[in-house]
Subunit: 308 residues, 2 copies
């Protein structure tokens, strides 16, 4: 079943201990839709400026991403500049230029209004609500957010949270949103705000999924070559939501496999700058890495302790 | 098969955001041997002062821990004072009084010299070597260390590492020892120093096991009530080494199960101050929590991706 994402398409300038790049392709909707496109049909809602090239649009089309909702506006494309230290888990934003994104009003096409699976990437919660108000009968809505909105628009964010099924969020942001340092208690508090499911992203420590039934933990794969974590969270969400949409349902097994698939996709993303590593993955590569994740954490059950 | 541990028995004063305690029982050898005693016979080498009470010694005996190697010396028992912030992963040492530990020369009994499984807890690497020099024909030796020795006695530590099969160490210490921030590369560098196996402790993010064959990751269980992480690392090592010794061999499956059992035991420890939570566990409780760990990370394999 088709998957709708609303978010940013951007130029990123990123510095890590391993190098730096300027004005490379980025943005939550770009990472998300590329990642999800390996599992399901994706339709994208975003805006770029008149400085945005054709190549990435053609690339998305080649991945069967519906780009009719990629609006071109007069002006410059959204730009983000950030830096990572050796602790690659946290980005330090150096500069944000909203440009054409500052006047962005997402308008869904008629087909998009019938979308069943929806991801509201990390944008102004008022825009997230505007999208939700246009969708007719969604089956499963997930959203992301960040400290900027948690602190800047708490009431609007609460209204969005009341209407989503799943929140996908960084660990420090989960703690800030709940006002609680213990992650289990924070998860209870956040789930009481609306989302049945909370997915806590922990960077190189993987992801935790909380529901009323259980807690699931998927690891990140320990990689020798981590160059740039930019987009890893959206790539993760793309794999997770892409797999859920491909199954057309949300159950325990789908959530577990989807979360691991999200981690698998993110593990590719961080190995190169921009979304280059996601451009041409083969199914066999994805499955091979999935198996490495399985072997990484799998263990037998134990039915008795050694006799003493 | 029996397990020998050399380390500290101490009085700890600990402050966490959830309370504080003064002069409670602690020390690496106490946590380790209590935890391991649920799986195998443990023999302990340590020193206490004349201020040390009888009760914990009787307790260890009740757990079938051989305490003949617990020396009593004139003077005061080793004391440690530390504090944890809301980030419970890192202890801030406020005060260390070595007391009787400063003149401690471990001397093994004849029976201890025949020990097959050995854990050298986090003490002066010269003492670790003295123990190794007394052991006749060990099958599997593991050790712990810390920044204090990594920086203060690097040559002595290297000599110990050349002679151990497994190093069990905190993540930040692994990075410091290897001089390398990427944990996969750090693991390669450390394993080249001697240990075939490296276990990296990540606090509330679990533990990673590196060997020449594979990488295994065991999670920490997300707990609602984490009061005091003191001793969690030694409790973990006690479960791991206790299980390995109980099996009498080190193979892939034993390592995986042992690592998870270590995480299980540590998850009990952190729920109470001192080692109170480890005093009277039932096999059924340990197995029940083991099953929760299994359910936390277990997922099906995937043989194909959704058709696109």
């Amino acid at each position: 079943m088709s998957l709708l994402v609303v978010g940013s398409v951007a130029f990123d300038s990123v510095k890590t201990p391993f190098g730096d790049v300027e004005d490379v392709l980025g943005g939550s909707a770009l990472y998300f839709s590329t990642s999800a496109s390996y599992f399901t049909d994706v339709s994208l809602v975003a805006v770029v400026g008149d400085d945005f090239p054709e190549e990435p649009v053609e690339f998305l089309k080649s991945r069967k991403v519906d780009v009719k909702g990629l609006h071109r506006a007069e002006g410059k494309t959204f730009r983000w500049k950030g830096e990572y230290g050796f602790d690659l888990n946290e980005a330090h934003t150096l500069d944000t230029q909203l440009n054409v994104f500052s006047d962005f009003k997402p308008e869904l096409s008629d087909a998009q209004k019938d979308a069943k699976f929806i991801f509201l990437a990390n944008i102004d919660p008022e825009l997230q609500l505007e999208v939700l108000n246009q969708v007719r009968n969604p089956e499963f809505v997930a959203c992301d957010t960040m400290n900027f909105w948690i602190n800047g628009k708490p009431a609007e964010l609460r209204r969005t949270l009341e209407r989503v099924n799943m929140l996908v969020i960084n660990e420090s942001e989960a703690r800030a949103l709940a006002g609680e340092s213990n992650i289990v208690k924070a998860a209870q508090a956040i789930r009481a705000m609306g989302p049945q499911y909370l997915v806590v992203k922990r960077g190189e420590y993987g992801a935790l999924v909380f529901s009323d039934k259980e807690t699931f933990f998927a690891p990140a794969y320990p990689l020798e070559s981590v160059y740039d974590p930019t987009g890893a969270g959206d790539t993760f969400a793309g794999g997770l939501m892409g797999y859920i949409a491909s199954r057309g349902r949300v159950d325990d097994e789908t959530l577990r496999l989807g979360t691991v698939i999200g981690c698998v996709m993110a593990s590719f993303d961080v190995e190169q700058f921009s979304f280059d590593a996601l451009r041409d993955l083969k199914a066999a590569q994805i499955l091979e890495r999935f198996k490495r994740f399985h072997s990484l954490v799998n263990f037998e059950t134990l039915t008795e302790l050694p006799a003493r």
